[in-house]
Amino acid sequence: MAKSSSEILAWVAEVFETPAEKIRPETRRDEIDAWDSLGILALMAKMDEDFHILLTDEEIQRLNSVRDICDVLREHDVKIDP
């Protein structure tokens, strides 16, 4: 599956119901209000729904920025074009 970088950023913005302009690769978890324990469930659900990815506990622990989300997607063979 291939997605452009901007598509992925827009997808993250949708998951956390956050304005797209606030989402950059370097945006940290603590900068996104909705990225709390409920937000993680929303992220897990969308990962499953849109990419058929079930995140492991270890992967969830590693997610601290938007870049980390992109890295996990790549590790699950989602190609992200620059």
């Binding site: 324990s37 409920l38 993680i40 469930l41 929303a42 897990m44 659900a45 499953d48 729904e49 079930l54 995140l55 492991t56 506990d57 969830i60």
Partner: protein, 346 residues
């Protein structure tokens, strides 16, 4: 593999019972901002819950449900051959709560009575055991009671479980019937104990007898792991049960899922391609009551019941253990459903 078809059992009635004390998450919750409550309610779908308080046990709720059930079905107490109590909130570590209920319900001493220590998956297991006992011959009538008081074992300051849990009991009357005249029931029952720590009350058992910290006696949940478990395990167990019965998903009238969390349940429905109208929700009024949420939803889920045919119900439990199971059963038009409130005295 635990897949089984059981013939010759009918459901004569199902009653649910909840405490009369209602807890409104919007007006009664303390320690949360209004926004926080709104967010949790939006996700979990729980607006209010029924709370047992410190003096009401799951056995009290089950007793109330069973007494109403016996009365409405016209069953004499001494006609009951077996009592199965499914619970993880027993009255005592010993004796079995089923023994306490045998005498409280006035069941005969010739009655077999035992507890099953399962939670969210418990209803499918309880029905399986009840149906199996009846189909084995000799026994004619069985009561399957399933009750939990999760609100009593939740620490309300723990945000992973607060605002979510309610308390409920249930009673189901099973009767042996001629297998020739009924549709067989299908069961698929599974376990993955590697996740036992994902939903656990660590203290108070014999592994950790008297911990000093009060929180050790309360439930602790790893939400993301339970979410993963649910979406990984529930769709296959439903499909396996359909396959076992030789049915398609459209052949089922209702999928009555353990009322874990609205967000998870909607995700599951969508993932399985089951219309939301076939997945009744009772979370809004009762919260997550553990495994008894399945019979509670069977009774209170506003099921449309045709008068000329049985409903085909997929009853699915999943959670603590980790344990999960599905029971595909028929509910005849003559089966009596009812609901009672148990008056909190303190």
């Amino acid at each position: 593999m635990a897949k089984s078809i059981v013939r010759g059992t009918a459901i004569r009635g199902v009653f649910s019972a909840v405490p009369s004390r209602r807890f409104d998450n919007f007006t009664d919750a303390t320690g949360f901002t209004e926004d926080e409550v709104r967010k949790v309610v939006g996700m979990a779908g729980v607006k209010s819950r029924r709370m047992a308080g410190d003096s009401v046990c799951s056995s009290d709720l089950c007793q109330a449900a069973a007494e109403a059930l016996l009365e409405k079905t016209g069953w004499e107490a001494d006609s009951v051959d077996a009592l199965i109590m499914v619970t993880q909130s027993p009255d005592y570590l010993l004796p079995s709560t089923a023994c306490v209920l045998q005498t409280k319900l006035g069941l005969p001493t010739t009655c077999a009575a035992f507890d099953v220590g399962l939670g969210c998956s418990g209803y499918a297991y309880g029905l399986y055991l009840g149906a199996l006992m009846l189909s084995g011959g000799g026994l004619k009538r069985a009561l399957v009671l399933h009750g939990e008081t999760p609100a009593r074992f939740a620490d309300e300051s723990d945000r992973s479980v607060s605002l979510l849990f309610g308390d409920a009991g249930s009673a189901t009357a099973l009767e042996a019937v001629d297998p020739a005249g009924t549709t067989p029931w299908s069961f698929v029952l599974h376990t993955d104990g590697s996740g036992y720590q994902d939903l656990i009350i660590p203290g108070g058992g014999f592994r950790e007898r008297f911990p000093e910290e009060r929180r050790r006696y309360c439930v602790s949940m790893n939400g993301p792991n339970i979410f993963n478990f649910s979406i990984k395990r529930v769709p296959p167990v439903i499909q396996d049960t359909l396959d076992l019965a030789g049915l398609n998903k459209d052949d089922v009238d209702y999928y009555i899922l353990h009322q874990s969390n609205q967000f998870i349940m909607r995700h599951l429905s969508k993932k399985m391609g089951i219309p939301e109208t076939k997945v009744p929700l009772t979370l809004e009024d009762f919260g997550n009551t553990g495994g008894p949420s399945v019979p509670l939803t069977l009774v209170r889920g506003e099921l449309t019941r045709p008068s000329d045919r049985s409903l085909k119900l997929m009853l699915v439990g999943y959670g603590v253990g980790l344990s999960w199971g599905a029971a595909l059963v028929d509910l005849g038009p003559e089966a009596i459903l009812g609901h009672v409130e148990y008056e909190n005295r303190s």
